[in-house]
C-alpha cells in the first residue's frame, strides 16, 4: 500500500482542521524560526480517513482474530471500557487541574488501588508505572532503596531464572545490579541447587514470574522465598502472568515483597499495537515508604495525588504525570464489571482453556515442553522433532498459521525451549475457537509432511509474503524521503 506521503500534493490540506489564519510570528527572533517545511503529508481529510482505515484492515487483532500470543494475555478488551474512559469530561481534564475538579476521576483511581492491593495481597500500590517494565524498574529500585535505607549497601546482584522475560535482567541492569542467571530444571521449576549456589550476602533480590513463562507454576516458591529472605534479599514478582492465578493465589502470600501488574494483560486494557500499557507496582508493608510517586491518597470526596511532601522516602517519579490515566480508568471499569467473583473466574477459565488446548494438541501428536505438568494459563509446544525431520521451523509453522486466520503464538521465547510456540488462549475464547485452532495445527502438521515448501514459504494469503528481516537489519530503512517510493502491493 502507498505511504501517506505518496498521497501528498503540495498545497493540499484538510481544511476543516485548519485554524482560519496564520498569525504573525515576527516578534520572535528570525534565527529561532524554522525555514524548511517538515515532511508531513499534504492531504485531505478523506485521504487520511481512507488511508488509515484501509491500513487498519492489514492487521490481525483480537477483535478480528484469535491471537494466542503467549505471555501477552490477548483477551477481549471490553468496548465499554473504551467508551467510558473516553467520555469528554475525562479526556478534557488537565493533570494539574486541582484535585477538587477531579474527584470523580480520583475516586476511580483510588478504588482501583484498593482492588489491586486486594488481589495481590500487598500493603500498598502505586499506579504510576506506565508498563510492566517500568513497574519492574520501580520494584527493583525500591529493593535497592530498602537495602540502602538499612545501610546494607554491599548487595550487588539480582538473581533471574533463565526463563525470565528480557525486561527482568534489563531492569536489574538499569538499577545498577549484576544479573545472576539460574537454570531451570526438567520440570520447568527453578533449579534449586543452582539457586543455592548463587544466593548469598551479595544477593539484593530475585525476580520471578509465577506461573513462569514456561507455563507452569513454580511449586517450590515457598522454599525459594525463604532462601532469598534468609539471605537478606527481597523477592520481586513479575506479574505478567497474574491472569493465571488471579483471585486464587496472592503473590503476597507466596512471600513476594514487590509485584508489578500488567493491566494491559490481566485487566484487559487494549494493547494498541504495542501499547500503552500500565504496570502498577504493589509492595509489602516494609517497602511502602519507597513507592514511586504520585499515589492517590486522601479520603472519599477529598482524594488527591500524594507527592514528595507526603512521601519523602519515595524512589521518586517515573513520569511527568501519574502514569497512563486513561488505561487506569479502563482497568478500573473492567474490574468493576467483573467484581470479585468475576476476577477469580478469569484464572479458572484461562487455565481451563490452556489445559484443554494443551491436551488436544498433545493428543494430536504435538510435543509439549513439559508434558507432565499442568498448564497454567499458557503452555509450550516444541517443534524440534518436526524441525529435525522436515526442516520446518517454529517460525515457518507460525507463518502458516496466519494463512489459516490465526495469529501465531509467541515463537522462540522462552529461549531455552528449542523451536517453541508459547500458546496462551485466554479465558475469553470459546471452545469452538480452540477447536478450530487445533484443526489448523493438525492441518499444518500434515502439510509439513506432504507439502513442506508450502509451509516454508508461508504466508501466502496475507497482504505481503514472507518479509526479509535480514535485509531490514542490514540496510536499515527507517524513514521515508521523497523519491523513495517502492514496489507497492
Amino acid at each position: 500500500m502507498k505511504l501517506i506521503f505518496e498521497h501528498s500534493v503540495a498545497g493540499r490540506c484538510a481544511t476543516a482542521q485548519m485554524p482560519h489564519r496564520l498569525n504573525s510570528l515576527d516578534d520572535l527572533p528570525e534565527h529561532l524560526l524554522r525555514r524548511d517545511e517538515p515532511l508531513l503529508p499534504q492531504v485531505s481529510e478523506l485521504d487520511v480517513v481512507r488511508h488509515y482505515t484501509q491500513l487498519s484492515q492489514r492487521n490481525f487483532s483480537i477483535d478480528t482474530h484469535f491471537y494466542p500470543l503467549g505471555s501477552c494475555t490477548m483477551k477481549y478488551n471490553p468496548r465499554a471500557c473504551n467508551s467510558l474512559a473516553m467520555l469528554p469530561g475525562f479526556l478534557d481534564r488537565h493533570p494539574f487541574a486541582p484535585a477538587a475538579t477531579g474527584q470523580g476521576y480520583l475516586t476511580s483511581l483510588y478504588e482501583l488501588q484498593q482492588i489491586l492491593i486486594e488481589v495481590t495481597g500487598m500493603a500498598a500500590v502505586s499506579l504510576a508505572p506506565m508498563a510492566g517494565a517500568q513497574g519492574e524498574f520501580a520494584g527493583v529500585a525500591m529493593i535497592r532503596a530498602w537495602h540502602d535505607s538499612r545501610g546494607d549497601t554491599a548487595r550487588t546482584e539480582i538473581i533471574v531464572p533463565d526463563a525470565a522475560h528480557g525486561t527482568n535482567p534489563a531492569t536489574a541492569a538499569m538499577c545498577g545490579y549484576t544479573v545472576r542467571e539460574i537454570p531451570t530444571d526438567a520440570q520447568g521449576n527453578v533449579d534449586l541447587d543452582a539457586l543455592k549456589k548463587v544466593v548469598g550476602p551479595q544477593t539484593a533480590g530475585l525476580m520471578l514470574t509465577n506461573p513462569s513463562t514456561l507455563g507452569v507454576f513454580e511449586q517450590q516458591i515457598q522454599t525459594i522465598a525463604s532462601m532469598i529472605h534468609h539471605a537478606g534479599g527481597l523477592l520481586y514478582y513479575d506479574g505478567a502472568n497474574l491472569n493465571a492465578i488471579l483471585g486464587w493465589v496472592k503473590p503476597g502470600d507466596m512471600g513476594f515483597d514487590v509485584i508489578h501488574i500488567n493491566l494491559h494483560k490481566t485487566f484487559a486494557t487494549p494493547h494498541g499495537g504495542g501499547g500503552p500499557g500500565s504496570g502498577p507496582v504493589a509492595v509489602s508493608e516494609r517497602l511502602v515508604p519507597f513507592l514511586p510517586l504520585p499515589r492517590v491518597g486522601g479520603e472519599s470526596g477529598h482524594y488527591r495525588m500524594l507527592d514528595e511532601h507526603d512521601c519523602p522516602r519515595s524512589i521518586g517519579r517515573l513520569s511527568g504525570n501519574h502514569g497512563n490515566g486513561g488505561v487506569l480508568l479502563r482497568a478500573y471499569i473492567y474490574a468493576r464489571m467483573l467484581g470479585g467473583e468475576g476476577l477469580r473466574r478469569v484464572a479458572r477459565y484461562a487455565t481451563l482453556n490452556a489445559n484443554y488446548l494443551m491436551a488436544r494438541l498433545q493428543q494430536a501428536g504435538f510435543d509439549l515442553a513439559f508434558p507432565k505438568r499442568r498448564a497454567s494459563h499458557e503452555f509450550i509446544v516444541t517443534l524440534k522433532r518436526l524441525k529435525d525431520q522436515t526442516g520446518i521451523s517454529a517460525m515457518d509453522f507460525a507463518k502458516r498459521l496466519l494463512d489459516y486466520g490465526f495469529h501465531a503464538p509467541t515463537t522462540y521465547f522462552p529461549m531455552l525451549v528449542p523451536e517453541c510456540l508459547l500458546i496462551e488462549p485466554t479465558e475469553t475464547e470459546s471452545k469452538a475457537t480452540l477447536d478450530a485452532f487445533v484443526a489448523a495445527m493438525i492441518a499444518i502438521a500434515q502439510e509439513a509432511q506432504a507439502q513442506p515448501e508450502l509451509v516454508k514459504t508461508a504466508p501466502h494469503t496475507l497482504p505481503v509474503r514472507r518479509l526479509d528481516d535480514v535485509r531490514a537489519a542490514r540496510e536499515p530503512d527507517l524513514v521515508w524521503s521523497v523519491g523513495r517510493e517502492c514496489a507497492v502491493r
Binding site: 484538510a14 488511508h51 470479585g340 521515508w480
Partner: protein, 458 residues
C-alpha cells in the same frame, strides 16, 4: 460470567478431554496452602449498564472548565477522525507487531510516524515511542552517556520542568550519572551559556523552556559541541511547525558534518493525545543515524517480501531487552503504540500548514492574554525576551488564592510556580492555546481584574 463464553456442557466436555474431574483440579499443582478463599473485600460485579451510569455520574461530578494550564500538557483541538480511527479494533486490540505479515497496518503506520517525527525534529531516525516526555528525557540522557563513552556528567538547566528533572533523577540514579543543574537568568528566564569547564557527556536544551521562554539554542548547542558533548533537545513538537528544528541548531560543525542537536526528545501529547488527566501520552525520541544503535525502544524498518514488494517489520532488535537482556539499551518493552497512531493521524490531518497555524495562534493567544493581564494593576510579565505559548506573570498576592478565585468563575487560571521556583515570588505560568477565543481571554482578564480589585485577604 462476564466475558467468559463457556457453557456448563462445554466445561464438562473440556474437562473430559483434559482428564480432570473438575475445575479445581486444574490448580492441583499449586501448594494448597497458597490457594485462598474468594475475596469478600472486592466489590460485586456491575453489568455494563450499571458501570455506565456510575462513570457518567463520576465524569459529571468533575465539571467543565475553561483551562489555561499548560506546564507540559497542552489543550489542543483533536480532530474527530483521530480517535475514531485508532480505536478501530484492528489498531486498538492488536499487540506489538511481532508477526510482521499479520501486522502491516500497525507497522506501516509506525514507519510513517518515524518519518514524520524525524523530519519534524530535523534528525535522521525516530523510534516508535517511549512512555512519556519525562521518562524519554531520562532515556535520552542514558543514551547520550553511552554514546559519549568518557564522561557521565550531564547538564540540565533549571528551565527544564521540575517534574522532568525529578524523573530523570529517579531513572538514571543507579548508573553513576551526575546530573548538574544549570541556573537561569532571572531577567530573561533562559539559560546563559554556562561557565562550567569540566568535561561532560551531554547538555539538555529545552525549547521552549518550562517558562515558555525561548532559549539561545544555537549558542548553547555550539558551546556543548565545542566541548565534545552531545546535545539533547527537549522540544514541544507542536512548536516545531514554526521553531527551528533541533537538527538545525547551532553552526554546522567544522568537519562539514551537519550541526544540530544529536538527540531530540519530548512529550508527544500536543500532537493528538487528549489531556486525559495526564495519560496515556508518549515520549518521542529521534537522533542522528550514528546513534541509532544506542537508541532505546522499538524501530520499524522497510524491507521486501518474497515477491520483492515493500513491507515493514520490527528491526534492529538486537538493541532490545528481549534479545539483549541485561545488555539492552533499555528495559522498555510495551510502548505507547496507540497514542502514536493517534499522533500520526493527527499530523496527517494538520500537515505542515496546519501545524504552523496552530502553533502561531497559540503564540498569539498567549501573547494577547499576557498583554491584557499585564495591563491590570498588580500584574506584570516576569521575563523579558521571547516566549512561545506560555508565559509567566507575577501577581501582587499568592497565586493559590487567585487561582481559587478564578475557579469560582469556572476558570483554571494556570500553574502556580511558587512551589517549584519560590525565588520568583507570586509567579503564575499561563497558557492560551488555539482553543481559546477572544471572548475566553476577555473572560479571564475580567475575572482576574475583579479578583485583584478586592482587598487582599491575609
Amino acid at each position: 460470567m462476564p466475558f467468559i463464553p463457556h457453557t456448563p456442557a462445554e466445561v464438562a466436555a473440556m474437562l473430559e478431554i483434559i482428564g480432570a474431574p473438575d475445575l479445581d483440579a486444574l490448580f492441583d499443582e499449586i501448594p494448597a496452602d497458597l490457594i485462598g478463599p474468594p475475596d469478600a473485600a472486592l466489590p460485586v460485579a456491575l453489568n455494563e449498564m450499571e458501570i455506565t451510569r456510575l462513570m457518567h455520574d463520576r465524569v459529571a461530578q468533575d465539571g467543565r472548565w475553561l483551562n489555561f494550564i499548560g506546564a507540559g500538557g497542552y489543550e489542543h483541538h483533536i480532530p474527530a477522525a483521530v480517535w475514531q480511527i485508532v480505536t478501530r479494533g484492528e489498531y486498538y486490540s492488536a499487540y506489538t507487531p511481532y508477526q510482521a505479515e499479520a501486522s502491516q497496518g500497525s507497522l506501516q503506520l509506525i514507519y510513517e510516524y518515524q518519518t514524520m517525527m524525524a523530519s519534524l525534529t530535523g534528525l535522521d531516525v525516530s523510534n516508535a515511542s517511549l512512555y512519556d516526555g519525562a521518562s524519554a528525557l531520562a532515556e535520552a540522557v542514558l543514551m547520550a552517556v553511552r554514546a559519549h563513552k568518557i564522561s557521565t556528567r550531564v547538564l540540565i538547566p533549571k528551565t527544564v520542568s521540575p517534574i522532568y528533572r525529578a524523573t530523570v533523577k529517579t531513572i538514571v540514579a543507579h548508573q553513576g550519572i551526575e546530573v548538574v543543574e544549570l541556573p537561569y537568568d532571572p531577567v530573561t528566564g533562559t539559560t546563559p551559556v554556562p561557565q562550567d569547564e569540566d568535561v561532560f557527556a551531554a547538555l539538555v536544551i529545552p525549547q521552549p523552556n518550562f517558562f515558555g521562554q525561548l532559549e539561545d539554542v544555537d549558542g548553547l548547542t555550539d558551546w556543548a559541541h565545542a566541548r565534545g558533548a552531545k546535545v539533547i533537545a527537549l522540544v514541544n513538537p507542536m512548536t516545531l511547525g514554526v521553531l527551528k528544528p533541533p537538527g538545525q541548531w547551532g553552526a554546522k560543525d567544522v568537519s562539514g558534518a551537519p550541526g544540530g542537536a544529536d538527540i531530540a526528545t519530548g512529550e508527544g501529547q500536543p500532537l493528538g493525545a487528549p489531556l486525559s488527566s495526564g495519560g496515556p501520552w508518549y515520549g518521542f525520541l529521534t537522533c542522528r543515524t550514528a546513534l541509532v544503535r544506542q537508541m532505546p525502544g522499538r524501530l520499524v524498518g522497510r524491507t521486501r517480501d518474497a515477491d520483492g514488494n515493500a513491507g515493514y517489520t520490527l528491526t534492529l532488535q538486537a538493541r532490545e531487552q528481549h534479545i539483549r537482556r541485561a545488555k539492552a539499551t533499555s528495559n522498555i518493552c510495551s510502548n505507547q503504540g496507540l497514542v502514536i497512531a493517534a499522533s500520526t493521524v493527527f499530523m496527517s490531518l494538520l500537515g505542515p500548514e496546519g501545524l504552523r497555524r496552530v502553533a502561531s495562534i497559540c503564540h498569539a493567544n498567549t501573547r494577547a492574554l499576557t498583554a491584557a493581564l499585564s495591563a491590570l494593576p498588580g500584574v506584570c510579565q516576569l521575563f523579558s525576551g521571547s516566549s512561545f505559548h506560555e508565559s509567566v506573570v507575577q501577581l501582587d498576592r499568592p497565586v493559590a488564592q487567585v487561582l481559587q478565585g478564578l475557579m469560582q468563575a469556572g476558570i483554571l487560571g494556570g500553574y502556580d510556580l511558587s512551589q517549584d521556583y519560590p525565588e520568583l515570588g507570586h509567579a503564575l505560568l499561563l497558557c492560551a492555546t488555539e482553543t481559546k477565543t477572544a471572548a475566553d481571554l476577555t473572560r479571564y482578564t475580567e475575572q482576574l481584574a475583579g479578583i485583584l480589585s478586592m482587598e487582599q485577604t491575609a
